[in-house]
Structures are given as C-alpha cells and as structure tokens.
Amino acid sequence: MSTVDLLRAHAPVAPDALRERVLTARPARPSRRRLRPVLVLAAAAVLAVAAAVVHGFTTSSPRERSVSEGAATTTPSLSIAAAPTADSAKRAAAVPSAAAGRLQHTDASLTVRVDDLGAMTTRATQIATSLGGYAQSVRYRRNGASYLELRLPAQNIERALARLAT
C-alpha cells in the first residue's frame, strides 16, 4: 500500500463527542439575526400610517400666502396647464379669486392611515396625475410613514383630498 493510500485509510475520524458538541452546542443566533423581527415590526408600523402632504400651486387661491410675480416666473404654474372642469370651477368659485397678476400658493395636508403603504402611495400618485398634477417627492420614513408632496391645480385640490381620503 502506498503512503497516500495509508494516509487515506487511517485518516482520523471526528469523535462522536465532537459531533454532538457541534450539533447541540450551537450558539445563539447572532444578534443581527435577532434584529430582523424588530425590523419587520418596524416595517409593520410603517405600513400602518401614511401621511400625504398635498400641495396646491395655483393662481387663484386666496387662502394662503401670495408670491410675487418674480417668483412666479421661476416656478411653473400647473394651473395654467390644467383645464378646469365645471365641478372644479364651482369649487374654485367658493374660494375668493386672487388679485390680478398675483400668483397664489395654497397648501393643504392630509394624513391617512392605510394597510398597504406601497399601494396607497402609488394610488396617491395616480390620483395626482389624473387630476393634472404630479408627485413632487415621495419619502419613506423608518417611523412608519411615507410623505408625499403632490402638486395640483388649485381647482382640483378639494377633489384630490376627497379621493385621497377614501
């Protein structure tokens, strides 16, 4: 028998005690693994709350601050591009119109609690788009919320709020 064959034939075998030691004396799961459920819980909390911040950028709303024309030239006005519907015109009529040549900025906020944060975030964006607006920013926070900043034509703000709230 060659040296190599002898070495292979008489190779040491792990004692049963070692096998048992390795299999039974397994260490506790690493701390990083333990954190996972906590993170999952945090994620569940995130799903429970969603905050939608709705911004309306308009030339007609008097409720909020006015912006000088100079500022208006640097900021595109969505209300110009959006054609108001009859319904929205009625709603807009409830709001005093702005002084001529003035660009008005209206803010509105809405906080909704949802089960599916991702789906609701997507839906909110779709609602804004369908009403002639767009999502300026979407931020997901670890505290369990997503913050959406939507830009909408002034006449569609109330409609947007109603649809976002349902």
């Binding site: 040296t3 008489h10 040491p12 075998v13 792990a14 070692l18 390795v22």
Partner: protein, 176 residues
C-alpha cells in the same frame, strides 16, 4: 432539501443551491477535523478548533455563497483562520513555559497508522501536513486547496510534492 441532494452540492455545488447547515456539519465535520489534526498535530486542540470553526461558520452561514465555492473549501478557510490564532496563542504559551516538553502521542494523525509514518508526519512542518490534509485526506482540488492556503496553484502543487517526497524518504529510511 434532503440530505442526499445537499451532499451532492457540497463537493461541487450547483449554482443557487444552499445546503442545510446540519447537513454540512454531518458531511464536513470529519474533513475539517482531519485538516485540523494534521495542521496542529494535536487531536485535543483539533477538537476545540473544529468546534470553534463550526460555531464561526454558523454565525456567518448567511454569507456562505455556494456559487463561489464548495462548503468544504469555505469551512477549511475558516478553520485555517481559527488554527492560525491558536498557533499564535500556543507559541506565546510555549515561550512562557520553560519546561515545555514536546509530547508524542501514538495515533495522533490517524488510528492504526503505521508507527514510522506517524513519526514521519510528526517531522513534517505544519504547512507540509496541511497541504497533505487538504489535497489527500479532504480531496480538495488544486485551486481550492491553493485558495485555502493563500498561495498559487503551482506553489500548492510543489508543496504537496515535496511533502510527500519527504514523507516517503523518511519512511523508506526506517524501512531500510
């Protein structure tokens, strides 16, 4: 995943397949233990180091990627790191103990191994025994063994040839 399917992936893992950790222990414990016995020349130390190796492996099991190499190679790399730490501590211990005497234990490198071969193995350096363990006892291929050792495949092959040659020369001297 059953044990057979898992064990088939241990030598040459298929992409994406990940064996269960218990299956890896069952399949690889002997190999890791043999490697550590040859590397340290001390069965008692090898047991401790093997246990430590699998503990470390379990802790980093999520990072094991079967597509990048076999579990055996991965475990041997961990075992080598554990053994290197042990060698450092052992060297410090020996320096502290003036009365340190090298003990020869029969059957350290294998049960029933002929005495001359056992003695010859004892005369080899840990690096020479290490490459024998990886290539012959654990059947790692050249590139895998070289990766564990951190040397080139050519250097690994050369080291193995020299180690076997020395081993045979020593046993021939005894026989003659």
């Amino acid at each position: 995943m059953d044990v057979n399917a898992a064990s088939s992936t241990l030598g040459l893992p298929r992409a994406g397949e990940r064996p269960a950790f218990d299956d890896v222990v069952a399949e690889q414990l002997d190999g890791v233990y043999r490697y550590l016995v040859y590397l340290t020349g001390d069965r008692s130390a090898a047991e401790d180091l093997a246990a430590e190796t699998f503990e470390k492996a379990f802790r980093s099991w999520r990072r094991f990627d079967p597509r990048r190499g076999a579990a055996r190679t991965w475990l041997c790399s961990i075992a080598r790191g554990v053994a290197v730490d042990w060698f450092r501590a052992e060297t410090r211990r020996r320096r502290r103990e003036d009365t340190y005497a090298r003990e020869h234990v029969a059957g350290e490198f294998g049960d029933g191994l002929p005495g001359p071969l056992e003695a010859a193995l004892r005369e080899l350096s840990p690096a020479e025994r290490e490459v024998i363990a990886l290539r012959i006892l654990l059947d790692l291929d050249g590139p895998s063994a070289a990766r564990v050792l951190g040397i080139s495949t050519t250097a690994c092959s050369t080291r193995l040839s020299r180690a076997l040659k020395r081993l045979e020369e020593m046993t021939d001297d005894v026989d003659g």
